[in-house]
């Protein structure tokens, strides 16, 4: 991978370069207090773009998988039925996407594009998407209490799947190209050659940042993967977890790696029907309800354990090459009953420690 150095004052010029190339650039902005958001960059708000801030809560996955997306229109006119797909093929760049969310998009790629059936709607959003990853280096502003990318092996610095990666070295920024398109940007005058001391500083900062993650969210992931994969988690534990679920679906909606949607047809005018797809969530009763009324996962805890089985069971990890959790911590903040990923891992750990006899390793 090629690396370059640029001055702090030149960082937002990358946004300008991309806009000049015809990209709609999405970047993070501050809202009230701790509220932050991804939004389209305009001439008016360009200077308000934030490099260091709490990762926006409403994840950038909506730029490849919109909350509500029209799929096709069916029109009936003069006895004829016309079906027309509705495609959107934007040329978009996300500036300032965090490493966890880069991993999220990679996960969606493998789900929507990685197998026999390629989802054309997803592909249209994805094919012209340019990702400028910013490494989380500011322990106060970038790293939240809920972050655990170091446990999910997605951050704080993504290793791949971005076009360009930026890292704050203090007075300067280091840029790393992750694709040909990213490398092509280096022809601009703002990018200077990187020196060995820059690279060394990068390593030093990353080492210190890893130490800034909170203890409470870390570890035990792999053991949980094993317990879930082996079906060792007791029904009682799932019930306790399920009893705290308010069936809001929020964990799915904010999850960068959740892929589920439902499809619905709605009348939009006389003789005209639109087919849309909407984010769906396994917490909801209607998610697995079958046409005859039978629901294999009617009990709330059955729906809840499905989420964690889907994310952490070995079968799925093998199929998709990574677990479907990127460690962004959004599910911690969104959950009414505090059953986000870290709490569930903790509940499983506690329950299993109780039932399993602990045999110390002998040397």
């Amino acid at each position: 991978m090629k690396a370059r150095i640029l001055e702090r004052a030149d960082v937002l010029k990358i946004v300008d370069l991309l806009r000049a190339q015809g990209y709609e650039v999405i970047a993070p902005f501050c809202g009230r207090e701790r509220d932050t958001r991804f939004d389209t960059v305009t001439d008016a708000n360009r200077d308000e773009i934030q490099i260091h801030l709490a990762n926006p809560y409403y994840p950038p996955k909506r730029y490849v998988l919109p909350h509500i997306e029209p799929l096709l229109k069916v029109q009936q006119k003069n006895g004829e039925i016309k079906i027309e797909p509705e495609y959107e093929t934007p040329k978009r760049a996300i500036f300032g996407i965090r490493s966890c969310d880069v991993a999220g998009i990679d996960h969606l790629d493998r789900f929507y594009l990685g197998r026999d059936f390629r989802d054309i709607y997803y592909e249209n959003h994805r094919k012209n998407l340019f990702l400028v990853n910013v490494v989380c280096t500011d322990p106060e502003r970038d790293i939240g209490d809920e972050c655990f990318c170091v446990c999910a092996d997605t951050g704080p610095a993504a290793r791949e799947h971005f076009d360009l990666q930026l890292m704050d070295l203090g007075d300067k920024f280091m840029a790393v190209a992750g694709s040909d398109a990213g490398e092509a940007l280096f022809s601009a005058a703002i990018f200077k050659k990187a020196a060995p001391e820059n690279v060394e500083k990068r390593h030093r900062i990353l080492d210190s940042v890893r130490g800034r993650f909170k203890d409470k969210t870390t570890s035990w992931f792999s053991a949980t993967v094993r317990y879930i994969s082996q079906g060792k988690v007791l029904e009682k534990t799932w019930e306790e977890i399920g009893n705290r679920c308010m069936e809001c679906g929020g964990c799915t909606y904010v999850c960068p790696a959740c892929t589920c949607f439902t499809v619905s047809d709605r009348k939009i005018a006389a003789g005209e029907v639109e087919r849309i797809r909407i984010w769906d969530a396994c917490a909801l009763d209607g998610f697995t309800r079958m046409a005859g009324g039978f629901n294999p996962r009617r009990a709330v805890h059955d729906r809840r354990n499905r989420r964690f089985f889907r994310k952490l069971a070995h079968y799925f990890i093998q199929r998709e090459l990574s677990m479907a959790c990127v460690g962004c911590g959004r599910c911690v903040a969104v959950c009414h009953g505090d059953i986000g990923m870290p709490s569930v891992v903790e509940s499983i750990r506690r329950a299993t420690v109780e039932i399993e006899e602990h045999v110390p390793v002998k040397h």
Binding site: R37, R244, Y253, T262, L284, A333, V334
Partner: protein, 672 residues
């Protein structure tokens, strides 16, 4: 694209959320991390609130019935027609022949203007909100005992409660954000007491779950109060400093007997004692109940007595929470959409209150209380009501009493304000299309007294007009000089009329996350916890509650039939109908039981040999009814639950005599 902070309009919690727009389209909704009430959390309804705004089947132009058919007309024609007909009916039959019913979802501004139209222009107190029948009971008790008809504390402060008592309300399904605060408080060490005849999901998290027999709350709380008094856990200093009528209360409370209370409630004496001691020993305790559930005044009085007895008012983590289930139930009550109370809860009979309003409104106000929603919707055959104004309210689908679909067609004039064609518009003379959430800037007041701005984030499609503006236009067409340039102007007048809203101008509300009333010019930041400073408030009052008589079950009718609300009905909700996800979720009960249902406890059903989905007969002394059985472990053994929408069941059980009790002894029979 833009992201605008606004407030969710489904339930009474008033969660803060952002609407993301692209051009003139709302494309997403997500909760605010910083909002003090929901802190990044929201329920399934909030996640889909934006779908309503983008719904394609909106009404565009006013509709006027001509030769029996609703035809599109201009705004001028529609408004002129409404004004002329209202004046005509008033002059012919008197002001009390006209009634105004408001949805608990209507904004503060439209609720305020509509009751002003009723009182100051038409001259009647016939104003009420759709949930009035039940909620107004709680308002009377709260006004009498603590002088404020609202939560005394904030939702976020529940996290500081050492003990929380949840009375009957299904927090997980109806008010999930509050459910979450309670569950997390419990995880952090608070003790949770859940009371109710239904095993709601919150009961699974309870330390003590008292699954009492229906309508025995007053006995339970009386017995708990007796334990608190006998064991010396009362807060004497608080009672002495702030409360009246302790002696008469204590004279009644000593008549309670733990063992007979345990028998009456159907729970063990030990569990009652444990609950009483948990509540009394807690450093701070809160009690939550729903104002929408039908219940006797005594049960609310007995609950507030316990709060006063332990001094749990006026400090963070303590308080009484009469929960409003609809997003502006608190607001429409504040605005005086009550047949017996003016804006700010003043009695209509109070001459001074009337005089103050008459000066501001420049009109003479009626003195006697008006007819409430139940009175209006059961007016069938009496002919006292000639005209009805429905503001976003759809009694045909949602009223829990009377035969709205038979009563309403008898009226000479029916005016409906709504964004969609509803079942009520079928009987309407005029339909005035309103704008929806996100298309107008108005305010709502949440169940924690938080007055919040709902932002305008997109332009309304051509045609619909804000509901408050329609009311103002009608008033002008009726000869008044009402002049409001915007909803903000209306709010300024509300502040003039009601001192506890006087600081809540739009500029102030736009800062931070709304303001909790009282929000005055002197205290513009609002008041998260009431009664903290001790002064400026009138004294609290205990309510003596005599030991309620408990009915012994008749041999022939061993089960108790209870009427209540059901989520089933949500599938009829106009907002839910216009969201793909919500329609699916709230349709499930409807798909499973297309003809409705009555609920039978699983254990009882097994004994009776009744299976889920089977038709059964409910036999009572006065009549009998048939319905589909829904077998569920959620309801208490020995009870049968009938949702209000099963109107036929209600009618057949009570027979022609009508007037409903909430519980009736019945027996369940299999239909051979």
């Amino acid at each position: 694209m833009a992201h605008n902070l606004t407030t969710c309009t489904f339930c009474g919690v008033g969660c803060g959320l952002y609407l993301e727009t692209s051009g003139n389209r709302v494309i997403g909704a997500y909760p605010s991390i910083s909002h003090p009430t929901n802190k990044g959390k929201i329920c399934v309804r909030g996640w889909h609130v934006h779908e309503v705004a983008s719904s394609p089947d909106r009404l565009k132009n006013p509709l006027l019935r001509k030769n029996g058919v609703l035809k599109e007309v201009t705004w001028a024609e529609a408004l002129d027609f409404v004004a002329t007909r209202l004046l005509h009916i008033r002059d012919l039959y008197g002001p009390d022949s006209i009634a105004f019913l408001v949805s608990p979802r209507s904004s503060n501004e439209e609720a305020y203007l509509l009751q002003k139209l009723a009182r100051a222009v038409v001259g009647t107190n016939n104003v009420d909100h759709g949930t009035g029948v039940y909620c107004n009971n709680s308002i009377d008790v709260l006004m009498d005992m603590i002088g404020v008809a609202a939560s005394t504390s904030s939702i976020a402060e529940l996290s500081q409660s050492a003990a929380i008592l949840v009375d009957e309300v299904d927090l997980f399904r109806k008010l999930p954000t509050i459910g979450g605060v309670v569950v997390r408080a419990k995880l952090n060490g608070a003790r949770l007491i859940v009371v109710g005849s239904r095993r709601n999901r919150i009961a699974e998290s309870a330390d003590i779950f008292l699954q009492i027999k229906p309508d025995t709350e007053a006995v339970l709380y009386g017995a708990m109060a007796k334990i608190i008094v006998d064991r010396g856990f009362i807060n004497r200093a608080f009672i002495k400093a702030h409360c009246d009528d302790y002696e008469s209360f204590s004279a009644k409370v000593c008549q309670y007997d733990l063992l007979s209370a345990a028998e009456a409630c159907g729970v063990s004496a030990d569990s009652i004692e444990a609950a009483a001691l948990t509540f009394a020993r807690a450093k701070t305790a809160s009690a939550l109940f729903s104002t929408v559930e039908a219940r006797q005044q005594e049960s609310v009085q007995a609950l507030i007595n316990m709060i006063l007895l332990t001094g749990n008012v006026g400090k963070p983590g303590a308080g009484i929470f009469p929960l409003a289930e609809q997003n502006n139930l608190q607001g429409v009550c504040d605005m005086g959409v009550l047949p017996g109370r003016l804006p700010g809860y003043c009695d209509v009979a109070d001459r001074n209150c009337r005089a103050k309003l008459e000066a501001i409104w420049n009109a003479k106000l009626p003195e006697s209380p008006g007819v409430g929603a139940r009175g209006v919707l059961t007016d069938r055959g009496h002919g006292t009501i000639k005209a009805l104004w429905l503001s976003r309210y759809n009694p045909v689908k949602s009223a829990l009493f009377g035969d709205a679909h038979k009563t309403i067609p008898e009226f000479d004039l029916v005016i409906a304000q709504h964004p969609f064609i509803t079942d009520d518009s079928r009987y309407a003379t005029v339909v005035l299309p309103t704008v929806v959430f996100g298309e107008e800037e108005v305010t709502f007041t949440s169940t924690e007294r938080r007055i919040q701005l709902a932002k305008k984030v997109v332009d309304a499609p051509p045609g619909p007009m804000p509901a408050w503006q329609q009311i103002a236009e009608v008033a002008r067409a009726m000869g008044t000089r009402w002049h409001y340039r915007s909803a903000a102007d209306v709010m300024n007048e509300i502040g003039e009329v009601m001192p506890f809203y006087s600081g809540a101008d739009y500029d102030n509300l736009a800062r931070e996350y709304g303001r909790q009333w009282p929000c005055t010019k002197e205290q513009p930041l609002g008041t998260p916890t009431l009664f903290t400073n001790g002064d400026g408030w009138r004294r609290f009052r205990f309510a003596p509650v005599a030991v309620p008589a408990t009915a012994t079950p008749a041999k022939d009718y061993p089960l108790t039939l209870v009427f209540g609300h059901s989520l089933y009905y949500w599938h009829q909700d106009a907002l839910v109908q216009h969201s793909e996800t919500l329609k699916r979720e709230y349709n499930i009960l409807f798909l499973d039981y297309p003809k409705g249902f009555v609920e039978v406890n699983s254990g009882d059903a097994k004994q009776l040999g009744v299976r889920d989905g089977e038709m059964i007969r409910l036999a009572a002394a006065r009549g009998s009814a048939e319905a589909t059985a829904r077998v569920t472990p959620e309801i208490r053994s020995g009870t049968v639950f009938v949702p209000y929408f099963m109107a036929e069941v209600e009618k057949n059980i009570f027979g022609a005599a009508g007037e409903a009790d909430r519980t009736v002894p019945v027996r369940v029979e299999k239909i051979a």
